[in-house]
């Protein structure tokens, strides 16, 4: 057994759980018997979306153990669930075994063919046959035969299954509307992974109420310890005759241990593979008898064991005040379906249903609880208000007869309506009201709306606000306009400089007035043509104005005006005053004309 001779191997494809009797297997061994492969499939029939388990086992004499890839299968999802390996050396011969599990999940109905798996090591070749998996919805509805009725897969000890379910009722013959407790139990001696999915049974003809969450514990069955998970529920038959509680379905995932193929191997380590399990309970039949005849008056269908209590909130009240009477029924049975007992009075002017509340106790072994019914009565006249006896009738299945309970009548004293400080609780608070006012006023309206004046002023302020916003915007826009800036400067010249020149002319200083008017005229002309003229010689000034498209006549007139102002500054004193006034006035006219031209 040296060199490549060690590569001789065996591949085995096997069905999922070794203990599943329903599995089919295809195995093949090489001619020398040193390489073998075996495939097993379980179950052979599944529903679309359900999983079957394919187990592939390869055995090889040698150290080399080849992988066996699973080919693609149309409309089937393949998941690798786990692998276990084993190595054994016996009498100098080395043997290795690999067991791989796959979850085969078909998507459609039909027949799925798993092709043959082939493994080759050196000259050794082994090949499995094809396997067939039937996919049908009928197979999905039908649970695996070994699991139904509590016979699980892989029951190693005879009669002690690893996992099974059971449905039971506490009594198989009951009266109509009598409580039946149905218990669905999951027994398991292998680990259950994750949550258990409980699908409740069909219970046509029953009113069903849950009895709290799942309960867990341990029991011994036929000498074997099991972990038990129990789902109890209370059923109340609504028909008579033989009623059947259908199958309940439980789905869970268990941890299945794969033992090594060679139990003598020292290196064999069991592998744990999760496996989905579906279990169904057996149907249960309950015989329902009708209630005995001769039910007393007032019987409204309550079945169980009950107690009635009546409470009135006050034995004294004022006319117009409500008095509340409460009937409370407690006991075991279907309290949600109890019809409230009638609470009546003899003297009430008005009556109201205040409310009804039900508290269901699901914590015990049987369903019970409490139901409260409140009625309010108002007497408008002083005197008495008599609450008549309240009667409640029910059928007691334990005593197999009808029972009833009546309350005592309650008399409430009705006093005159509250009025004056001596009547009762409202006056006795110790808070002293403020004394009345001697005078009158202030006066005002009780309306919360605005007056006409308020509306007018609010509207006026809104209009004023809007107009101020518009005016401010217009002013900002105009201040950014260069023409407007020139007009403002020109107005400033007119209002300041020429006024000053006029006053100088009037005060006997015509020379200064003429010089100021001359300077102002040059500045104004510069603003008119948007050019700087001060400090320029005559020829240069004429050339600049022509460049700014000033007419020849305009330039000539300007120069004559400037000459006149210049002459006034050096004229004899006796003639200068009147001339200065005229020249300043002419300058004003010229600048005003310039302002109009710019503004246009």
């Amino acid at each position: 057994m040296t060199g490549r001779g060690l590569r001789r191997a065996t591949v085995v494809v096997a069905l999922a759980a070794l203990s599943f009797p329903s599995s089919v297997a295809r195995a093949n061994t090489s001619p020398s018997g040193k390489l073998s492969i075996e495939a097993k499939l379980s179950p052979e029939q599944v529903g679309p979306g359900d999983a079957a388990t394919l187990t592939v086992e390869v055995t090889s004499e040698g150290l080399n153990l080849p992988e066996v890839p699973l080919p693609q299968i149309p409309n089937v999802a393949v998941e690798r669930a786990g692998t276990a390996q084993n190595l054994s050396i016996m009498n100098g011969r080395v043997s290795r075994t690999s067991t791989t599990m796959y979850r085969i999940i078909p998507r459609k109905e039909g027949t799925v063919t798993i092709p043959s798996l082939r493994v080759t090591v050196g000259s050794e070749t082994a090949e499995t046959g094809t396997l067939t998996l039937i996919v049908s919805r009928g197979a999905a509805a039908r649970p695996p035969t070994p699991l139904r009725g509590g016979m699980p897969p892989g029951s190693a000890p005879s009669g002690t299954p690893e996992i099974f379910v059971k449905a039971s009722v506490d009594r198989s013959r009951v009266f109509w509307n009598e409580q039946v407790v149905l218990r669905l139990r999951l027994y398991s001696r292998i680990d259950v992974l994750g949550d258990v999915d409980w699908k409740p049974p069909s219970a046509n003809g029953f009113w069903t109420e849950g009895l709290g969450p799942a309960r867990q514990g341990r029991v011994r069955v036929n000498g074997v310890d099991y972990a038990v998970m129990e789902i109890p529920s209370a059923l109340f038959p609504t028909r008579v005759g033989a009623l059947t509680i259908g199958r309940a379905r439980i789905r869970c995932r268990v941890a299945r241990v794969i033992q090594p193929p060679d139990p003598w191997s020292m290196l064999a380590i069991p592998d744990v593979v999760p496996e989905d399990v579906t279990l169904d309970t057996d149907p249960v039949t309950v015989t329902v008898d009708p209630l005995p005849a001769g039910a007393p008056a007032g019987f409204e269908g309550a079945v169980g064991n009950y107690h009635l209590a009546v409470h009135v909130d006050a034995l004294t009240a004022h006319a117009g005040e409500p008095v509340v009477a409460r009937a409370t029924i407690t006991g075991t049975g279907n309290v949600s379906s109890i019809r409230d007992p009638e609470i009546r009075t003899r003297d009430a002017s008005r009556e109201y249903v205040v409310g009804t509340s039900t508290r269901v106790d699901r914590n015990g072994d049987r369903l019970g609880g409490e139901r409260e019914h409140d009625m309010a009565f108002v007497a408008d006249q002083p005197g008495t208000l008599e609450i008549l006896p309240v009667r409640f009738v029910w059928f007691d299945p334990e005593a197999r007869g009808y029972r009833w309970q009546s309350s005592e009548p309650v008399t409430v004293r009705i006093e005159p309506a509250a009025g004056g400080t001596e009547t009762g609780r409202v006056a006795g608070q110790g808070l002293a009201p403020a004394v009345p006012r001697p005078g009158s006023g202030p006066r005002g309206s009780l309306s919360l709306g605005p007056s006409t004046t308020n509306s007018f002023f609010l509207g006026f302020s809104a209009i004023a606000f809007a107009s101020a916003v518009l005016a401010g915007g217009a002013r900002r826009r105009r201040s950014r306009d260069p023409r407007w800036a020139r007009v403002r400067l020109l107005e400033s010249l007119l209002s300041r400089e020429l006024d000053r020149a006029r006053s100088l002319a009037a005060s006997g200083d015509p020379a200064k007035a003429a010089a100021l008017a001359e300077q102002t005229l040059l500045l104004g002309t510069g603003l008119r043509y948007d050019v700087e003229l001060t400090g320029l010689a005559r020829a240069e000034r004429e050339q600049t104005l022509r460049a700014r498209r000033a007419g020849g006549e305009e330039i000539g007139g300007l120069e004559r005006h400037l000459d006149a102002l210049h002459a006034i500054a050096y004229a004899p004193p006796e003639t200068r005053r009147s001339d200065a006034k005229q020249a300043v006035a002419a300058t004003r006219r010229t600048l005003e004309r310039y302002r109009r031209e710019i503004a246009e």
Binding site: A418, A434, A462
Partner: protein, 239 residues
Amino acid sequence: MIRTIAVILLLVLPSVARAERDPADASVLYNAGTEALRRGDLGPAVALLLAAQRIDPRARDIRTNLAIARARVDESQGSGDHGGARPASPLALSAAESWNLAAAVSLLGAALLWAAALRPRGRALALLGAAVFGAGAVLALMLTLRAREEARHSEAVVVSPVLDVAPAPEERPTSPYLLAGGDEVRLGRSRGDLVEVRVGGNSIGWARRSGLWRVSDAARYTARSGARSAGTAGRIDGS
């Protein structure tokens, strides 16, 4: 000049507003409510004192007696003491005063903005004016919403000892509500002798009009008005 106009408006507005509407006397309402409180008629007491508080909200005596009346209503219903009398707030304003304030603030804001528009550099003044006008506008908006709610669902008080509020005849029958004297509610639509009753913004059913007083009509039930005497069941006009 603007300053002068603003001062004149602030002085003239309250008197003009007060004179142009049908006024009610807060002292008459207060005295009638106090007398009803002394007699133990909690419903009329609450309604009349609420009306008096609308006109004179800063009056300590009105607030004190209204708080006592409400506490007695709570005690009669077994819901405990809600704090008793509280001092009058010096900042409380009546509806008319609130509207005057909103108008004055808005006018001041507009005047400030005009002053900013007439000045060459008035940016800070313009911002101030806009802020002041915005404050006045927000106040006016809040007052408008409050007045609209009062117009649609007027404030009312249960004046009968017990008032049953039930669904309308064509509505799905449900258990009726019981309201006690002094309970404060709001009213909705009216139909014949019935009026829709609303609590906490939701309709709880319909009740007889004669068991409810609207606060805005409380002046009719004072002795001085000659309409009804306090303590007897009045009625609500159709809304």
